[in-house]
Symmetry: C2
Subunit: 338 residues, 2 copies
């Protein structure tokens, strides 16, 4: 494959006609609080298990994204979603409620943009009229599955990231208000040999850079064409690495227009979130909340969301494998932008 | 959504230009032995862990599907794959070898046709020129993850199914020899309340029936239009249930043209495989081996492959949840068939 053949350019650009974001208490303490539709005041989300808590977040986000535009699930021909849990069980159960065609996807924390890319492609080509993309994560479902039982209260090193609790959903249609989806760049798996699951930002940074470069090449653009290029969840360790790698590759990235959802969602210095946020919902709730608002208000004209994922499993790293990483990018354009 | 809006009809029909299938020793004892490209004589696949064994199967299947047509991964613009393992780790690692854009998907044992449907859509619409779909499973990676440590040698009830060991891959392009892909029907999650993970055939049967009916309605076809309608892995318990449900819904299914990959792959009465085969590779290796051969030889003209998946996780059933199920169907047409 030639470099720069990773991008689907949408000839008919679909629109994100509705979004919804629901988060937990830690995210409600962050600077993006007002951009979320609903913030729960307790991590249990009034459910009896962490898994049920995550499911409730996703269920409510998907329902709200529909009801905001007086739609029901029956108005959609596809639901594409995924999460971090084994067998993406949160999405499977929410798809059961929706009762519409369902494609389950897994790209770890890149799932948000993987799902949006697929829905946009299906809408753009007319395979479906309307579709919904969503992703979810919960701090405690992720902790218990990937690390230790939550009751341990195990300490983590400062390079570790804090899985955000939340869910984000987006309804996509060919016609309608809302930001247009110009293109999607599908990432390749990049693995430079990092084996420490407590340093996923560093592991994921090269994947983000690979996808950003592929996107710019495919679109014949430079970083200046975007008001904001935002990575998914590289956080405090990974994001500066990505900046360095881009500059080393002669990509003129302007750090004031290059940010990270995992850094934006928390008050990093004041909240106990180690290096910053992560999780499949991290890029989902920042994109479908704050970034959508800014695009709709005209504060941002073009944004490239580069969701990053660490494709490890507990078994793979226990067996000594390094961490394969990936990043999928979606280019969004505000209303009226040519 | 109206009934019958689940199908992507491909205006430009892509072709399966190459396939490869690799299996383990149990599958080599079954009636389809000669249709597989390679049969391993030991379940360990000459590797040191079950996970590495499964990865080797998928790695070799994807390589072989390419080399049969003198292609390399660089000739592809997309790889879509999934498996049963947590975080679909087998596919993540194989995607790392391929170094091309990758969409990870999860539909349990329906993954094979979920992946093929997505690749076909991308090729048909010109988003990519060539792509590959694949799926894998290994009896022992599945056993240790979903049931008990393999060392226990735990007994299973006769309704249980036997996860097949293998991997199947298909290369899809717009032009070329090989069966055409006419359409793909994306399933909805169906859950009639079965909670027994040792009876997944019965749990999945209603999902298969739902997708078959949607497909026939969407395509304005009857079962007679297909020489073969084949479910993924309903096996000895689930397949007769699907037949009964179809007849109850007034679908004139002819049982001599209605079969199941999980029944076809083994000599059910002679091999110790309980109710029959299952696993993401089950429908993949039967479709990409035996069915491809029959389509290429003109013995079968039209085939509908209905891959079925049980979307449970060990945590979900331990928490008392029932088993959400899904089925994705792909319609294949032999060379020269109008």
């Amino acid at each position: 494959m030639l470099a720069g053949q990773q991008t689907w350019k949408f000839q008919r650009q679909p629109h994100i006609i509705s979004t919804a974001t629901i988060v937990g208490p830690d995210e409600a303490l962050g600077p993006l609080k007002d951009s979320f539709d609903k913030c729960y005041d307790e991590l249990e989300i009034y459910e009896k298990s962490w898994e049920k808590a995550e499911r409730r977040l996703l269920s409510e986000a998907t329902s709200l994204a529909l009801s905001k535009k007086n739609l029901t699930a029956d108005d959609l021909q596809i639901y594409v979603g995924g999460d971090l849990l084994n067998q993406i069980i949160t999405n499977n159960f929410v798809a059961r409620e929706l009762k519409i065609p369902y494609l389950g996807v897994f790209g770890a924390c890149s799932t948000s943009m993987e799902a949006l890319a697929i829905v946009a492609q299906l809408v753009s080509t007319g395979a479906v009229k309307k579709g919904m993309a969503a992703a979810s994560s919960h701090n405690c479902t992720a902790e218990k599955q990937f690390r230790y039982p939550t009751e341990y209260g195990a300490q983590k090193p400062p390079t570790a990231q804090y899985t955000i609790t939340g869910a984000g959903a987006a309804v996509v249609a060919l016609d309608g208000d809302g930001p247009a989806i110009e293109a999607a760049t599908i990432g390749r798996v990049i693995d430079l040999g990092i084996t420490d699951p407590f340093n996923m930002g560093a592991a994921m940074a090269p994947a983000a850079v690979d996808t950003i470069i592929a996107h710019l090449n495919d679109m014949n653009r430079t970083p200046k064409d975007y008001d904001l290029i935002v990575t998914g969840d590289l956080a405090r360790v990974g994001h500066p690495i990505a900046t360095d790698l881009l500059l080393k590759e002669q990509v003129p990235i302007n750090t004031t227009h290059f940010d990270d959802c995992g850094l934006m969602i928390y008050n990093i210095d004041d909240q106990q979130v180690e290096a910053g946020g992560s999780g499949a919902a991290c890029s989902a709730v920042v994109t479908y909340g704050h970034i959508m608002n800014e695009l709709n208000k005209g504060h941002l004209r073009r944004v490239l969301v580069v969701a990053t994922g660490a494709l490890l499993s507990p078994i793979s790293y226990q067996q000594g494998e390094s961490i394969p990483c990936i990043a999928h990018a979606v280019a969004l354009k505000g209303k009226g932008v040519e």
